[in-house]
Amino acid sequence: MIKEKEITSVEVEEVTVRFAGDSGDGMQLTGSQFSDTTAFVGNDLNTLPDYPAEIRAPAGTIYGVSGFQLHFGSREVYTPGDRPDVLVVMNPAALKKNLPELKPGGTIIANKDSFDQKNLKLANYESNPLEDGSLKGYDVIEVPISSLNNEVLKNSGLSQKDISRCKNFFALGLMYWLYNRPLEPTLNWINKKFADKQKYRDSNSIALKAGYNFGETTEVFATRYHVAPAQLTKGTYRSISGNEATALGFLAASVKSGLPLFLGSYPITPASEILQYLSEYKSFGVKTFQAEDEIAGITSAIGAAFAGNLAITNTSGPGLSLKTEAIGLAVMTELPLVVINVQRGGPSTGLPTKTEQADLLQALWGRNGEAPVVVLAAATPSDCFDMAIIASRLALKYMTPVILLTDGYLANGSEPWRVPKFEDIPDIPVKFWTKKEGFYPYLRDENLSRPWVKVGTPGLEHRIGGLEKANIYGDISYDPDNHDLMIKLREKKIKGVVQDVPDLRVDGDQEGELLVIGWGGTFGTITEAVLHVRRKGYKVSQAHLRYLNPLPKNTGDVLKRFKKVLVPEINLGQLAKYLRSEFLLPLIQLNIVRGLPFRVSDVEAKIIEILGGKSNGK
């Protein structure tokens, strides 16, 4: 029964959508297809998957729910969004789990068919929320997705199980209609993916189109949303997650430096993907060594660094703890090494699949003895690419271990990335020492770096190790004054890295009432919060640290230019501790440690609270 229907088209600036369903419902695919299409139409966007902690929990249970959130808009988007405006739920468990996060008054698009006795019970619902009035206040749109999908595919020749697998495309099609997105990108993807499986190709396409048409024709939807393209820098874009960006960054550093890349690693959530991505690049000569444990991961990398490779090791919290002793060895032997730590919820095993920023002090000082290293932190998923290259550059230039901090949110979150032209990335110069004359293992150049000799170079046979080294000569030395000298030289070398650290940039007024300063993966949230409060008429400046040790040399100056400084962190105040001890300044902390990215609204509220709740004008 097709008839003309009246549709209101509403222009919105930004929307947050969450797709949620059973692990088997294909929500990750649905989400990433929606993202790709959204990128294609020119919106800015940011995404975050929410995997269940269990590998494959029983179907229909709450802990089996898989989610994917994306936030897109016609202006710049920095986070995957706080609470979704729209929640698409494929079953009752998905509703149960995600409803608390939905924005008050938000829209729920529910697969009505799945709200049967069995699934309600699995989701611990006493009665059907679609019927018992408990969803009052939300805009609930019930769509019999399963049965509509079954209907259009009944002649597809697919088994019922396979037909059912197409229903996420139906939902996707419906969302495309709702947000005015073209079907072509996904249709192309389907064609490619199922190139030699015609039945699947056709069925998925049919389901997608059916969903779209359902929106077009049914009475249920009276409003359609339009989100205009954002103003973005010209170029070729792709979507990239932090883990993939990290892997690509080191691959690029390897090619740029002309050094073979060696990754010594042991799988651990949420860092394993870096190993997984890099193991794909054997055609670049990349060697990924899945070691027996984290200690072998790093010590093999130290061996590879000694042998002349670009050596890296990646891990997450508990693994960083295990690498502690060996990082000290890299400090003492002054070998280039990058340690990537994808922070997750701690302490101990903690919350392995969740995000946190609580490994900063460990990265800075968590080693026996005075063992200074360079510490960096990526700010956004795509920034991981840049920081990986910077980390490699600094490690090689200063012959030092570098700890690069990312986190679970950056690792799994995605954002559009303007693909760089490889030739635009500056070279990474590497000079191995080759001449016999004047060679001593602990000579120092103008950067206090010692010479790097590729093992195998004739005439330069030498020995290094973890005992204290005689200055210049590198022999074992128990001399008290030499020890004092070397302790101070190593410290000075790392302090000297500041010459390669760009000054801390302040966004907004360069001085004033309030500066919000963060580090690492909270960049997006803080940025969005600052933009929001500015729009509300508050004056607030923002700075963000990507270099933690050494800090940019103007850091103290920047902080002192503001009456108040707010430090939001997903820990109990680690950066705050550090900045306080460096600059003796009182700082205001915001510490919410929920294993999740900050909510923009939490940061906003805190800023407004500090500013006394009244606009301090523009």
């Binding site: 874009y237 792709r238 055609s283 060697k287 693909v419 093992v455 046979e461 020995r463 290094i464």
Partner: protein, 349 residues
């Protein structure tokens, strides 16, 4: 320290002497320590290794008296942290498979804290030559018992005698699929040198267990195998394809019955040398090597000295290189720009 000898030019045929392998650093082991003899024999053996250039040689160690070894060799050397030598060495070997990578490790270093790296290197058949300085004690830390110390041994940490059963290093290596397992003595320079050369020639993981005397904290533990009067009765020298006989008068032999070794007296008429077990170094079954390894469990049997087993199979580093080569052959060298731009892309104009 950098060596200040003449730069050795890249010539195909360098003729080295033992001295070329001495770094000249003062050797700091206790007078009489068995480590000296191992050092001397290693330095003496390298010139005999065909085709090895010294700049391609790396010695890696952990921590312990024996782990000072690399400092005394004028090759590349890495004195790591306690127990991690096999892992460091694995990284070096993978990063540069051209190198000849040696590990010098004590029984504490290799089998206590480093046990896991050791068994994994064995399993993977990484091409490492491991010299195990087994003095059945922690030397450097001044005399605590080690995982190879005999049960009942009184040491600083076992004042009433240890209650631990010791590891059998060769048994552990065999259980972990090491491809060359051998044992020798610090006091038998000739045999020691033979074993070093066997390790050098072997492609794959070689474990050379060296019974090494610690004069300070465990003096004399191996005397039974060393003293003129007792050694012939308490050791048996393994030789490929030779019957396993031993004793002062070479009049006792090992036979195997139901997979268990027995000693027979060859002076008895009912016994013949033809019944005696003939050693086969290349026997791929782990049963033989295991029987040999466990002959040390009791002093009723002589302790085998020599190569227990040698197996040929692809090494880990070869496997890695071969895989990379085949991928590059099939797909060509990687194109970085292509990788950066891979996946779904879109244009903003």
């Amino acid at each position: 320290m950098a060596n200040d000898k003449e730069l050795i030019q890249e010539k195909p045929e360098v003729k080295y002497t033992a001295k070329d392998f001495s770094s000249g650093q003062d050797v700091r082991w206790c007078p009489g320590c068995g480590d000296y003899s191992v050092l001397a024999m290693v330095q003496r053996s390298f010139p005999d290794m065909i085709g090895i250039k010294k700049e391609k040689v790396v010695f890696v160690s952990g921590i312990g008296c024996s782990s000072r070894f690399p400092y005394y060799m004028d090759t590349y050397g890495f004195h790591g942290i306690h127990g991690r030598a096999p892992a460091i060495a694995t990284g070096i070997k993978i990063a540069n498979p051209d190198l000849s990578v040696w590990v010098a490790a004590g029984d504490g270093d290799l089998l206590s804290i480093g046990g896991n790296h050791f068994i994994h290197a064995c399993r993977k058949n990484v091409d490492l030559k491991i010299l195990l300085f087994n003095n059945q004690i922690y030397g450097l830390t001044k005399g605590q018992y080690s995982p190879t110390s005999a049960k009942g041994l009184k040491t600083k940490t076992t004042p009433f005698g240890s209650v631990d059963y010791p590891f059998n290093a060769c048994s552990l290596a065999i259980g972990s699929n090491a491809t060359l397992v051998a044992r020798t003595l610090d006091s038998d320079p000739k045999h020691l040198q033979q074993m070093i050369l066997r390790a050098a020639e072997h492609k794959g993981l070689a474990l050379i267990e060296i019974y090494q005397n610690c004069v300070i904290y465990n003096d004399g533990v191996f005397d039974l195998f060393k003293n003129k009067e007792t050694k012939d009765d308490h050791t048996i020298v393994l030789e490929h394809n030779k019957p396993m006989i031993f004793g002062k008068n070479k009049d006792r032999g090992i036979i195997i019955k139901n997979s268990k070794p027995l000693i027979i007296n060859l002076n008895r008429v009912e016994n013949s040398i033809n019944d005696v077990w003939v050693h086969d170094e290349f026997d791929p079954s782990p049963a033989r090597a295991m029987i040999l390894a466990h002959m040390t469990d009791s002093h009723d049997f002589p302790t085998p000295i020599g190569v227990f087993q040698q197996i040929k199979k692809e090494t880990y580093d070869e496997g890695i290189e071969a895989q990379i080569d085949s991928i590059i052959k099939a797909k060509g060298k990687g194109d970085i720009q292509k990788v950066l731009s891979s996946g779904y892309t879109w244009e903003v104009n």
